[in-house]
Amino acid sequence: MADGKDSSRLQRELVKITDTPGPRVKALGKPTPRAGIPVSSGASPVNQNSGGEGIASPLTEMDYTTRLWYLPYNRYTTDGIFTFTVQDLASIDYTDAKGRVVQFKPANTQIPPP
């Protein structure tokens, strides 16, 4: 059984391991030929309140009404005839296997299609 000193040391080591950023990934490999969104746009930082552990799969959206949306904008059919009003996702909450809430916050990408 570890004494208090060992316990504190272990905790420091764990925190050091979990909080020290490793070599930062600048970008993922191409997920599909069309994907051009930087991976950092949807990255979730390590949850500081998770007691030092990572996210436990699976992530499940428990309540879609908690989603947040960016301001609406219009998209048009290719022929310009019909108009659709679109809202991009601003925030979505997932709950991991241990009941902890993980929040995704995509960047606002109101950009015209390529």
């Binding site: 048009y76 290719t78 022929d79 310009g80 108009t83 979505i92 995704f104």
Partner: protein
């Protein structure tokens, strides 16, 4: 409608292309692609070859290369058909009285003219309410916009345009590419006040009404043309062509120097005979009347132009399609052997050659340029010889005729005459002028909004119809003559209903055949 290539990441997704990517020639409710293995079912075969382009300013067009050969993401849309006019394969709410108006992306509307009507005690007022329904896709779409009509140039709150005469039938005959202008055609309720005018999908009128006079069917193009101009808040009516302007008959007698053959012949007591007038101082018996040949010439002509319809060029210009006719008759009477003076009348020999030449030309014009034509000539010589008062004989020699439609000689044509041409009925002048070719009648045909032609009925023998080439008014081309067409698809009633033509308004490609077809 489909969405091209969307990602269903957990969230967010993105949409690249959205719209109606299935385009092509629709026959039998099926689009045929270059790859015959990839036919595409279409919800409903358009009920005519009428095909209108809608070009929305700012339309995004396709975003990415499309790998499915069946998908064509155009930056324009097509309205197809007539009585059940459709967009994306779905009938518009007002059918033939619907189209699309656009003032740019996000400002595009389905237009319904069902709220317009011919009114008034004289059935000569036209107006009402134009309804614009937004193409915003939503569970709570914007409310429809109802716009009262306003007569162009008239004081405010003048909703009804006064037509040139009583009218009972109207339809859309031309639409420009944004729907900001349409041309409406009007017909009377009856022809000549007694023959009910018919206009229905069942009769496959396609912008041409029909009536039956004395068991003979006639088809009539619009009498009156009106323009409707739209914005998102205004609907303005203005007169384009009155009946007097859309059908013009000009009877032009160039010169007539034709003597009567029936002359008064008096006995001259001195030596013989005099003609016409009893000599002064003579005592004349009652004159004898008989033919006495005299030389003379006669030139007469008649011309007519009848508007068949109109269309909008790609630059927005409104261009008219017409059938113009000219007929000319030239007669030369040459008398010889006439010397009655001091002749024993029984010995007097006389003769007369009557040479009659007729020419007919019926031309289908697009913007004034001839695109299809029917020409005919007829010539014959009548010779009358014999003794005065006795032994007269008549013979006709050298009859000849030609009848050429779009370069094809339709011989044997019958020798014809245009005597009695002076028909003052404007609207069917050309059809009736055609009747001078024996039983043949000439029709100006509107196959669809961008395809016109000339057709003959009752021409030769058992063939009830002969169809000339089809003129593609957008590029000015003309197909080869289609030739004789037989019943049951082609009858004297509808010589060309059994044949169809459609033009893709953007590529200007024409397709024609015996099956109903339309680009979608």
């Amino acid at each position: 409608m489909i969405i091209n290539d969307y990602y269903l990441l957990p969230q967010p997704s993105r949409m690249l292309d959205c719209g109606q990517p299935w385009h092509g020639l629709c026959i039998g409710s099926q689009i045929t692609y270059p790859d015959p293995l990839l036919p595409k079912a279409w919800p409903a075969q358009p009920d005519s070859g009428d095909c209108w382009v809608i070009q929305v300013p700012g339309a995004p067009g396709a975003t990415a290369a499309v790998v499915d050969p069946r998908h064509n993401w155009y930056n324009y849309a097509l309205l197809s058909g007539w009585w059940n006019r459709q967009l994306y394969g779905k009938q518009l709410p007002g059918g033939r009285l619907s189209y699309v108006y656009t003032n740019g992306v996000g400002h595009t509307y389905i237009v319904n003219l069902s709220g317009l009507a011919i009114t008034g005690a004289g059935s000569n007022l036209f107006g009402g309410t134009v309804t614009l329904s937004s193409t915003q896709v939503s569970i709570s779409p914007p409310a429809a916009i109802n716009i009262p009509t306003q007569v162009a140039g008239a004081p405010p709150n003048t909703p009804n345009l006064t037509l040139d005469a009583a009218r009972g039938i109207w339809d859309i005959v031309a639409i420009n590419k944004t729907g900001s202008e349409v041309v409406l055609g009007f017909w009377p309720q009856t022809y000549a006040g007694s023959y009910p005018m018919e206009y229905s999908s069942g009769q496959a009128c396609r912008g041409i009404a029909r009536f039956v006079a004395d068991a003979t069917p006639f088809r009539t193009v619009p009498y009156t043309y009106v323009k409707l101009s739209l914005t998102e808040g205004t609907a303005e009516l203005s007169m384009l062509k009155t009946a007097a302007e859309s059908s013009v008959l000009d009877t032009n007698t160039v010169s007539v120097h034709q003597g009567s053959l029936l002359r008064a012949v008096y006995a001259d007591s001195s030596c013989g005979w005099v003609i016409d007038t009893c000599p002064v101082g003579a005592s004349c018996s009652d004159p004898l009347y008989d033919w006495v040949p005299t030389s003379s010439t006669s030139d007469t002509s008649v011309s007519s132009e009848l508007l068949l319809g109109c269309f909008y060029e790609s630059d927005g210009t409104l261009t008219w399609v017409s059938l113009a006719g000219t007929l000319a008759r030239h007669q030369v009477n040459t008398a010889y052997g006439v010397d009655l003076a001091c002749e024993n009348p029984e010995d007097a020999q006389a003769g007369l050659d009557i040479v009659e030449d007729c020419e007919i030309a019926l031309e289908l014009k697009v913007g004034g340029a001839v695109k299809s034509s029917l020409t005919g000539t007829s010539s014959n010589t009548t010779t009358i010889t014999g003794h005065i008062f006795t032994d007269e004989s008549t013979s006709v020699s050298d009859p000849s005729a030609t009848l050429v439609l779009d370069g094809v000689n339709l011989l044997p044509a019958e020798v014809f005459s245009i005597a009695g041409y002076a028909n003052t009925d404007h609207i069917n002048a050309l059809l009736l002028i055609g009747a001078f070719l024996s039983s043949t009648r000439v029709h100006g045909v509107r196959y669809s909004n961008h395809a016109f032609g000339i057709a003959l009925t009752g021409l030769i023998g058992a063939h009830p119809a002969y169809l000339g080439g089809i003129v593609n008014v957008l590029d000015g081309s003309r197909t080869a003559p289609l030739g004789f067409k037989d019943a049951p698809n082609h009858t004297a009633d509808y010589p060309y209903v059994g044949y169809h033509a459609t033009v893709q308004p953007m590529t200007q490609t024409i397709s024609h055949g015996v099956s109903p077809a339309c680009y979608v």
